[in-house]
Amino acid sequence: METLIIIDQAPYGGFSGREALDMAFSLAAFDQPVSLLFTGAGVNWLRKGQMPDEIYQKSVEKNLSAAPVFGIEKLLADETSCLRYNLDKEDLPAGVVVVDTDAKVIASFTQVLFAG
């Protein structure tokens, strides 16, 4: 069983993205294959140089950099969303694959879910 978790919410303004990441880490911890797709405002998770200390939150950039170590398989980013938010491919964290998200991408996973 291969799971895709979609993150379409930007970080910091809400907590559902963090909760999505926790779900991904839990699946990986139990050896269940899991990938993440960032789309819509969710691609802002992938921007470099996040400094949320003044709003009393921890950087999700750091959390996300642990993803490969914890066994998350793929980190996907929706191409149109990256364009909309001015994120160039070369600026994305190492290992992130830019995709044109459509029904075929979805069909390559056994289950697809959101955290909220």
Binding site: F15, E19, D22, S26, L27, Q32, Q111, L113, A115, G116
Partner: protein, 138 residues
Amino acid sequence: MSDAPDNTFSLVITGAPYSSQAPQTALAFAKAVVDSGHLIDRVFLYGDGVHLASTLIAPPSDELHLPHAWSEFLTEHKVPAVACIASALRRGLVNQEEQDRYELGASNVLPAFEIAGLGEWVESNVKSTRTIYFHAGS
């Protein structure tokens, strides 16, 4: 997948009662699962969904009491229900054990609900025919 009995469902509720419609839709769905002869392996409350397990909700008397309606269903059909511990602690839902551990003044989790980690969700997800999510709509 066939539509025949002995399919098992895992239900995940992430929307709060009296803020989203998720707990009502999930309850109607859960009743239909049981009425159709299928099994519910587990109900998992995540994110804002953990508020459904509160003992302290007191809606106006002419509105459906969702935590009580859910508790009755769970008890009647012996369906286990789990609120995610990380979500619960951040949102003010604690049982006796967490009350003691964090030295809090009270506990407020209905007896039909346990507090446990995401491992419960992973396990249920793996063994169920279908895992269905009930999110806030707005």
